[in-house]
């Protein structure tokens, strides 16, 4: 049984059908990458899983149980942590406070949360020095680290990462992906990426979304091998991989 299974998911924003029957499965322990152009429905898929967007029809099964229609507060308590697009680090709170609040879905003491947040800096040494800096003072790369660290504080069984590379310098993107390849040891990850090369480099499985539908799915090698897809989503250099 897959950890996460989405069946024929339809999500509407008013008149617009953002997802028109998406079906994907994420197996326990995998990193699955969702690729696609802007507006294809990648973020909407994640928002539907975490409860920010309500499904019009279809179902979302987590661990075999339907979570479609639950609110975000309930879903994160089940063990799905969503690191949304734009990082959304609380600007008026410090880095450590932001990370600590990531544990709000669990019933643990404040001192325990504080210790866990300190331990999180071992995985993210680059932000340790900014522990007491307010969120709004950080750079894009630092914000991304804080956002991922905060997402991990939920001790998720499934981590949803939305465009972690967006707007970051290449060297920072590499640092972020090094962290993702470390996280995967303990956590299943569903990753949305516009940077297909990076996104597939850490993935066990990939899906390509196009205007609200899955048009292709497969192992990264198979996706690199599909010429039409490679040209459209993976950049012109992709052919050399095929």
């Amino acid at each position: 049984m897959p950890l996460l299974e989405i069946r024929n998911l339809v999500v509407r924003y008013g008149e617009i059908e953002a997802l028109r029957g998406v079906t994907i499965a994420v197996e326990q322990g995998q990193v699955v990458t969702l690729l696609g152009a802007n507006g294809a429905g990648k973020s909407t898929t994640l928002r539907a899983i975490s409860g920010l967007a309500k499904p019009a029809s279809g179902d979302i099964l987590f661990d075999g149980h339907s979570i479609a229609g639950l609110g975000p507060e309930a879903i994160v308590r089940l063990g799905i942590s969503h690191v949304p697009e734009g990082r959304r680090v609380f600007p008026g709170l410090t880095v450590k406070e932001n990370i600590m609040l990531g544990a709000s879905n669990r019933k643990v003491s404040a001192s325990q949360i504080s210790r866990e947040a300190d331990a999180m800096f071992d995985l993210f040494p680059d932000i340790r020095a900014f522990s007491n800096a307010l969120g709004w003072t950080l750079s894009g790369g630092q914000l991304q680290m804080v956002a991922v660290a905060r997402g991990l504080m939920a001790k998720p069984r499934l981590l949803l990462l939305d465009e972690p590379s967006l707007g970051l310098a290449p060297v920072i993107v590499q640092a972020v992906f090094r962290i993702i390849s470390q996280i995967r040891k303990d956590t299943t990850v569903l990753l949305v990426e516009q940077n297909a090369r990076m996104g597939l480099s850490v993935a066990d499985h990939g899906f390509v979304l196009e205007t609200g539908r899955i048009v292709l799915g497969g192992k990264p090698d198979e996706l690199w091998g599909n010429e039409a897809i490679a040209a459209a989503y993976l950049g012109s250099h992709a052919k050399s991989h095929a």
Binding site: L52, G92, W136
Partner: protein
């Protein structure tokens, strides 16, 4: 010089009341992005609750506890009845609902108690103490003392506790807070309860200095609203400094310029700020809203 000290004491005392009500404005504004125009009526209702309890012959401290508990309950009802049903709408319907609630509260009290202003005795039997050249009125001492304690509590609560951080997170980004598992509706409920108690406390403390009347709420609220703008809208420290500054300014204005125009000075200062420094003393930290 003696007069200056005396006026400063009185000004800070009355300013502390504005500061408490202003704090209530700011906390609700930060949590809901809406100005609660019934904030002043919280003060008025609490003062009347106090009058009722004292007239029933209850001890002063018990009346105080009952009045504050009543305010906590009013905060719950207010949230459920006024804010919660409209929480997914724009700010305008919510603001109009708070104005409606304010009219409802004052007219309910009017219907029950009539238009006659009531008198509430102070907490202490001693009217005050003479300290050198300054006469320290006991009620003003109480107001200042309670305000200092509350400002300290407020700082501790919001800066040192996890619950305070969750409240801050909710006011900064509700959707993100809910993604982390923070119950946004609970956080907003706590904010309304806390703000109603703050407003009520201000009303109870100031009641022995003024008369307890239907209009006392709107007068205090207008000054407190001016104080929040002077301090910098949405800023907690600004609300406190703005409230104290306004109390001092109007006391000095009344003493040295004109007593009948006492209430006018607050708004003169407000207009000056709106023209020359609309972001207030502490400014709006734009980055915090990003």
């Amino acid at each position: 010089m003696d007069l200056v000290l005396q006026l400063l004491f009185t000004g800070i005392g009355i300013g502390a009341v504005y500061a408490l009500v202003a704090l209530g404005f700011v906390l609700i504004f930060r949590a809901t992005n809406v100005v609660n125009f019934a904030q002043g009526e919280f003060s008025m209702v609490a003062a009347y609750l106090m009058v009722v309890c004292v007239e029933l012959g209850l001890p002063y401290w018990l009346s105080f506890v009952i009045a504050l508990a009543g305010m906590a309950l009013l905060g719950v009802i207010f949230n459920l009845g006024v804010y919660y049903p409209l929480r997914h709408r724009t700010y305008l319907p919510v603001i109009i609902a708070t104005i409606g609630a304010s009219i409802l509260l004052s007219n309910s009290v009017l219907a029950i108690y009539g238009p006659q202003p009531q008198v509430l005795q102070g907490w202490f039997d001693t009217p005050g103490i003479q300290l050198g050249p300054v006469y320290l009125d006991s009620q003003y001492l109480l107001i200042i003392g309670v305000t200092i304690l509350l400002v300290l509590f407020n700082f501790w609560f919001f800066e040192k506790t996890l619950l305070g951080k969750k409240l801050q997170a909710t006011s900064q980004d509700k959707e993100m807070a809910s993604l982390l598992g923070i119950s946004v509706s609970t956080m907003i409920m706590i904010t309304f309860i806390y703000s109603a108690v703050l407003g009520g406390l201000a009303g109870i403390l100031v009641a022995p200095v003024l008369f307890v009347s239907i209009q006392m709420g709107s007068t205090i609220a207008l000054k407190a609203f001016a104080a929040t703008i002077i301090g910098g809208f949405g800023d907690v420290a600004g609300a406190i400094v703005g409230g104290l500054a306004l109390g001092v300014i109007e006391t000095f204005g009344a003493a040295y310029i004109s007593v009948p125009y006492k209430d006018g000075f607050a708004f003169l200062v407000l207009i000056a700020f709106l023209v020359f420094r609309p972001q207030g003393i502490f400014g709006e930290r734009v980055a915090e809203k990003a």
